[in-house]
Amino acid sequence: MIKKITVLSLLITVAAFARLDGAFESMYWGVRPLAMGGAFTAVANDVNAPLYNVAGIANLSQRQISLTASRLFTGLEGVEIGTNYFGYTQPLSMKTAKYGVMSFAWASLSSPGLSREDTFNIGYARYLNDIFNLDTNIVNLTAGLNLKYLRHEYNFNQSNSPGLYPSSKGGVTADIGLLAQFANGISVGYSNKYLTSPDIGFVYEDKVENINVIGLAYYNDLLPSLRIPYFTAALDVMFRNNETVLRVGLESYIIDGKLAIRTGGREEAFDIGFGYEFLFSNNKKLIIDYALEIPLQVEESYGSHFFGISFNF
């Protein structure tokens, strides 16, 4: 048991100190995580988990599918940037969790006529309590692995070198994630993204930068004293190259747990959002989400708007 934990700790430590230069730094995936400021590594309990902490999908007992579209930095003439996200999770068995859960995700960021980034993602996650003989009444430990293909393209007709370079470059890499959910409502998550730092440079070496995120979250059905129902507070600390980014988020479900209100932020943006769940028979659920991100450094923008629809079945 101690040996296994030691090996796992070493793996995490080695990954955490791998810092390289690279691309794919956007943080715009999933409406619910966005409304929580992007602090989702230790929450990771829905179809948005694959791009935050793939370990989280191990706890999903239903199939979930989600679509997100956004328009970034609206109100700025000359700025046209949009994102799309598609996610799907599939438990390998609907009867037992021991086979784990798979996920498929596609995330895209594009500025028409200029550039585009796509991430194709296949993930798998499983709980580890049986391997480490952990008491489920104390902690629920899950781990996951993403295989991903990254692709970015640019319109070199808008450069001084039209036709000299291929319009797109891609690379294969992987993420790993760990999530420990303790019975007292505290969760700790860890995600290491772009493990292999693939070179996606057109002219020079351009390795996708490795990202390490440590997340901390607290959940309570009814927050003591303040009596906030279905309350979640989350904190992510992201390490990327020489940069550290702090992200915080809050969430509460009101109206019998149907209406979610969320807020969060990071140094350069403030987020708010809501979601509404429509319950059907057999525990099926349709969820509509909206998030507004208000940039704090970019001026004169009406903000970035995110719309999402999810279905759990």
């Binding site: 003439e77 940037i81 550039s115 930068e209 004169e300």
Partner: protein, 379 residues
Amino acid sequence: MNKKIKNSLLILALAVLTPVCMFAAIYTYDAIVTIGTPTITILHTAPEQVPPINKEMVVVGTVTFSESGNLNSMDFTYTLQGSSAVTESVTNIVPISATSYKFVKAIEIEQTSGNISYLFSVSGQLSGMSVSTATALYVTTVTATTSQNVDPANPVPVILESGNQTAGNTSIVFVNGSFTGDQNIIITQLDPNNPPSFTGVAGKAAETDYFVALYLIEPEGLVVDPKATLTLYYGDVSSSKLFMKYRDPDTGKWITITDNVVIDTNMKTISARIGRLGYYAVSTQGVTPDNDYRPLKRVVIMGQDTFKFENMNDGDKLKIFNINGKKIREITSRGGYADGFEWDGRKDGGDWAESGTYIYQLKIQGKGKLISGTIAFVK
């Protein structure tokens, strides 16, 4: 003296006096008719051309009476290409002396080529007599182009008539030695609503919305040194502020000419000294348009080029944000780039930025709103 002699002398006298009297009578009669018949003279020179874009021909002339009298009527009969003759009264007639009048006549034209033919007819009451006259047929060509072979050693002006004889013309006047070798100089008037394409940011260049006249002076790009004087006819414009703009053939950007620009509101012309032939426009918008600040090359490869934000001066501000909205670079002075600001792709700390899409925001002194856009930096 006998009777025969008297008769002979009488016959001789009659023979001499009769032709003299007849001549005198005839001479006297001719003098009376020639001096006393009132006449009307119409003086007019037709424009050689009318550019179809102006959609109007305005002609002027004078009517002169040989003696004082009243001008009863003046008609203008014209034939447009493919149409039958139309006769209209000339109503804009102003006396300029006791026996002279100045007239102005304007007609609308829709044809884009061919000819316009016309004549004037006048009737008046002079010394109690009714007098009428008509001119011969004038012919004007509808064309937007004129060309002239110009010898740099002895340059002649190249003129594109406006078709409006109450105003000025479009012309270019060279000085000796402005270029080498004979050049066929061509002036073409173009539709200001359809200017040549802008090669920068996708979409219509906003500044061209303000064009009221547009010309192409060829050969495009010909350097003229010493500079030539270019005069552009701009027609009827309500705005009191007008600007001459030049399209840089290398960048496609429209640049406002600021030095020694002369506007003649009577002649409806704007003049400036120019050093290069090409596209010139008259615009009611003089401030530098947003697109003139934006970088033409929106994708830059690390170390091979830089993003160039032209027309920016010290005190202006350029901010670069990454896709997450975090500011990574701020520039407030020109540095090594003489025409504006440039960003080479480095962050404030000196490290190269990552490949990806970036947002820029420009704060220009004296300009209200920020100018924003997207660029991509690639390794």
